[in-house]
């Protein structure tokens, strides 16, 4: 590791930069130097913003020198490349936007920069955030820092790999069905999806608008809380952003779980995941109990239909959202004999296979004659899934379950689309219900055929708007167990 500075937490960096015992410039230089040597092996970034980072560092140092206190002063930030940052290429991991430059900045990114973050670069992702491994990116390969033969997870795999390999201290992700929580689990990170609407989606390239939510990656719960506090809150530019005061979280972290009832989901029994993984979760639940929580069994009887529900609703919304990529106003254009042929050729050349599959399935589910049988039925199933959680909250305050059914898998291991979709089994129900949920490191498992132990994630989920108790509980669990510190990245 070139410089111990890059391993510090966001909280430590901000404290020292605010105290002027460290400059944002030093942090930016150390991080960029590390990215320049390490990222050719990892592939976290599609674009590295050397100049932009140094400009912002100078700005942060000047603001601190002028007496301002910035909650994330000098903290290196990795931005998922489906979020706009003025003047930077924003590709969504797609050929159709390969050369598109954002004319404005996403609200969540703007707020992190205003809080003092240094933008190190734009990170790789599954094309238009559709995938669970980053393998669907049209623009690059990202490797898991804990085993380069394995995927980092997805869709926010570039941000996860960047934070895990110290190429950034905080990362932004977007989570539609698990795209923050699964890569966080795969890369030994905390990954947090807030309540739907808590973080503005303005400047996020839309995938499935009723599900998309931005949230942070960090190496500690405290850092994730600091990032959430900075990026959350109402934004008039996103009409679905929640117009109620943000409850800050970083100042309300806890060290025990006394008085908390944690639901263990009957339908999510882990015995079928193999003895080693089962033991990791059994121990995690015992640790929650040892911290003072009362474990109660809860039922989510409709959760098994989550995947089917999601894989109708999300593609339906995607087919509508991605209609805007037609070669007229921005991005790729492939000429044709008439305007229809231009649309069809542009989209054929610009979209990769997974995006095409989802557009087709979504278009089919919304088409005349199938709309009620597929799309409306899925929307009704969504109601039942949300009602399951409402019933569960009568007997518990939070739910604990796996974030993913396995540790990070090897490249090309999930060639059948449905086997990839199954990676989201435990994260999709929460997305459909709009609930805040996170993944926190909970242990290590050496997968069959693997040479190194790989991280696993415990998912904690809370009622709508209960971000504060959720992060507080995750912090207590993290501080007691410290699983994240037990292994170091392979490179």
């Amino acid at each position: 590791m070139s410089n111990p500075l890059i391993e510090r937490s966001a909280a430590q960096i901000a404290r020292d930069v605010n105290a002027r015992s460290l400059s944002a410039r030093e942090v930016a230089d150390a991080t960029l130097a590390h990215v320049d040597t390490a990222d050719s092996q990892i592939g976290s970034y599609l674009t590295v913003l050397h100049e932009r980072a140094r400009e912002q560092a100078a700005r942060v140092d000047a603001r601190v020198a002028a007496g301002e206190h910035l909650p994330l002063a000098g903290v290196p930030l990795a931005v998922k490349d489906n979020m706009c940052l003025t003047g930077t290429r924003t590709t969504a991991g797609s050929k159709i936007l390969e050369h598109w430059v954002s004319p404005y900045t996403a609200t969540a990114v703007a707020r992190l920069l205003d809080a003092g973050c240094i933008p190190i670069g734009k990170t790789n992702l599954d094309e238009f955030a559709m995938g669970s491994s980053c393998e669907n990116s049209a623009l690059g390969v990202t490797r898991n820092p804990y085993d380069p033969q394995r995927v980092p997870g997805g869709s926010s795999g570039g941000s996860a790999a960047a934070v895990a390999s110290y190429e950034a201290t905080i990362g932004t992700g977007s989570d539609t069905g698990g795209s923050i929580r699964e890569p966080a689990a795969f890369c030994n990170l905390v990954g947090f999806k807030p309540t739907y609407g808590r973080v503005s989606r303005y400047g996020l390239i839309a995938f499935a608008s009723s599900l998309d939510q931005i949230g942070p990656f960090a190496r500690t719960v405290e850092d994730a809380a600091l990032a959430y506090d900075a990026m959350g809150g109402h934004d008039p530019m996103d009409s679905t952003s929640i117009d109620r005061p943000l409850e800050t979280t970083a100042t309300h972290l806890r060290s025990d779980l006394s008085g908390l009832r944690i639901g263990i989901v009957k339908e999510f029994a882990t015995a079928g995941l193999g003895a080693e993984i089962d033991a990791v979760y059994a121990q995690a639940y015992r640790d929650l109990e040892a911290l003072g929580a009362t474990l109660v069994e809860v039922e989510l009887p409709t959760a098994e239909h989550g995947l089917a529900t999601y894989y109708l609703i999300a593609p339906a919304e995607c087919s509508s959202n991605l209609a805007r990529f037609d070669g007229v106003r921005y991005g790729l254009r492939v000429d044709g004999a008439d305007v229809h042929e231009m649309y069809e050729r542009t989209r054929a050349a610009g979209f990769g296979p997974e995006v095409k599959r989802r557009i087709l399935i979504g278009t089919y589910a919304l088409s005349s004659g199938y709309y009620d049988a597929y799309y409306v039925r899925a929307q009704k199933a969504r109601t039942l899934i949300a009602q399951d959680f409402e019933r569960a909250w009568k007997s518990c305050d939070m739910i604990a379950c796996p974030a993913a059914s396995s540790p990070a898998f090897q490249f090309n291991a999930k060639s059948d689309p449905y086997s990839m979709y199954l990676m989201d089994y435990y994260t999709i129900p929460m997305s459909l219900a709009g609930l805040p949920a996170l993944s926190v490191p909970c242990g290590w498992v050496t997968p069959p055929g693997g040479e190194r132990p790989m991280p696993m994630g415990l998912q904690l989920c809370a009622p709508l708007f209960a971000e504060r108790p959720l992060l507080a509980a995750a912090h207590a669990y993290e501080q007691k167990t410290q699983h994240a510190l037990k292994e170091k990245p392979a490179r």
């Binding site: 089917a308 004999a337 649309y343 399935i361 109601t383």
Partner: protein, 96 residues
């Protein structure tokens, strides 16, 4: 729900997506497989269940009808695949 096969070419036309013959075959098989999985929803009794479009509180949002700053036309047109003066240029849509 239905067990009939998807007419991939028709759906692709609706989606304005040109597909090769190879893609038609491959996507056709994959979509049939995926629809086989989502058919499990047919088992749910949803006769008395309202549809959910979005879970969290939502209401119509209005703003004052006032001029506010917006993106500069040159900035937007600079990204256009083809432009003509202050416009996006596209193939002829209305026949001569």
């Amino acid at each position: 729900m239905s067990s009939e096969k998807i007419d991939v070419r028709y759906v692709a036309k609706l989606a304005r997506l040109a597909l090769t013959d190879d893609e038609v075959e491959r996507f056709g098989e994959q979509l049939d497989d995926l629809l086989g999985h989502v058919d499990s929803l047919a088992k749910l009794d949803v006769s008395a269940v309202p549809a959910t479009a979005q879970v969290v509180e939502s209401r119509n949002v209005e703003r004052d009808d006032a001029l506010t700053p917006c993106l500069d036309r040159e900035v937007v047109l600079a990204q256009a695949p083809q432009r003509a003066g202050g416009f996006f240029r596209v193939p002829r849509i209305i026949a001569e």
